[in-house]
């Protein structure tokens, strides 16, 4: 029996829901970003339809070249590159939040889809569950 089969059995062939994790805070200084990432990784075992949104200072979670030695924290940004292997492939970033911080998609450590405010609202509208971090 393959791993996939075992997962299906555990889920009891249950309903797949759309989960959106909304990340609004800078990666360090609070525990929100890391906690959100851990919940996503743990939740990935349940084979749900998962999306991540990065808004406001949350866009900093994905920026390249994070250097955390000075604050004595682990730089966990490389872990976002592992999300694909957990079948979490839908990452959305708010256009206005990027622009306000002088960033664009090329500054980010993973490929993302950039959404305007209307599109972001529509994305949230289609979800079954929204977690805000």
């Amino acid at each position: 029996m393959s791993d996939e089969d075992m997962m299906d059995d555990e889920a009891g062939g249950g309903v797949v829901k759309k989960f959106l994790y909304v990340n609004r805070k800078a990666p360090y200084g609070t525990i929100y970003a890391l906690e959100s990432l851990e919940v996503v990784l743990i939740g990935a075992a349940f084979d749900q339809d998962v999306s991540l949104a990065f808004i406001d200072d949350g866009v900093y979670q994905l920026t390249k070249g994070q250097q955390t030695d000075g604050i004595g924290m682990k730089n966990f940004s490389p872990t976002y590159r592992a999300l694909e292997m957990y079948d979490v492939e839908k990452l959305y970033v708010d256009q206005d939040s990027l622009t306000a911080r002088g960033l664009n998609a090329e500054d980010l450590i993973v490929p993302v889809e950039v959404l305007n405010t209307t599109q972001m609202a529509e994305l949230m509208e289609t979800q079954d569950v929204v977690f805000s971090f």
Binding site: S2, M6, L41, F76, P78, M85
Partner: protein, 110 residues
């Protein structure tokens, strides 16, 4: 908690995972394996080294499902399957191999 290796004291958490990743060396892996009554073969080392490289790149100890898939990709389907990996690491390939590799317990493992 801690373990004694070659007269050195190495800090671990209550489940035996190393507190400081930097403390790790191959002798520590061997001692941890002996505690579990396992002798490390080249097949074990292949997985342990894979995990260390994975952690180095992604800063995370992979879940067993992800580990199995990733091993399959790198070392072929005859190694990237649950049976092969559980035969090597009977307490769970991610959980036990990560401990030998000096990594934290995989995220989401209970």
């Amino acid at each position: 908690m801690s373990i004694e290796i070659n007269g050195q004291t190495i800090e671990t958490d209550e489940e035996g995972y190393l507190t400081n990743l930097g403390d790790w060396n191959e002798d520590i892996a061997k001692v941890l394996a002996e505690q579990d009554e396992l002798e490390l073969t080249s097949n074990h080392w292949e997985v342990i080294n894979f995990l260390r490289e994975y952690y180095d790149e992604y800063q995370i100890a992979p879940a067993v499902r992800v580990l199995t898939k990733a091993i399959g990709k790198k070392l072929g389907p005859d190694k990237g399957n649950s049976k092969y990996l559980y035969d090597l690491f009977p307490y769970g390939p991610a959980k036990q191999a990560c401990r030998f590799a000096g990594l934290p317990k995989p995220t989401g493992c209970v």
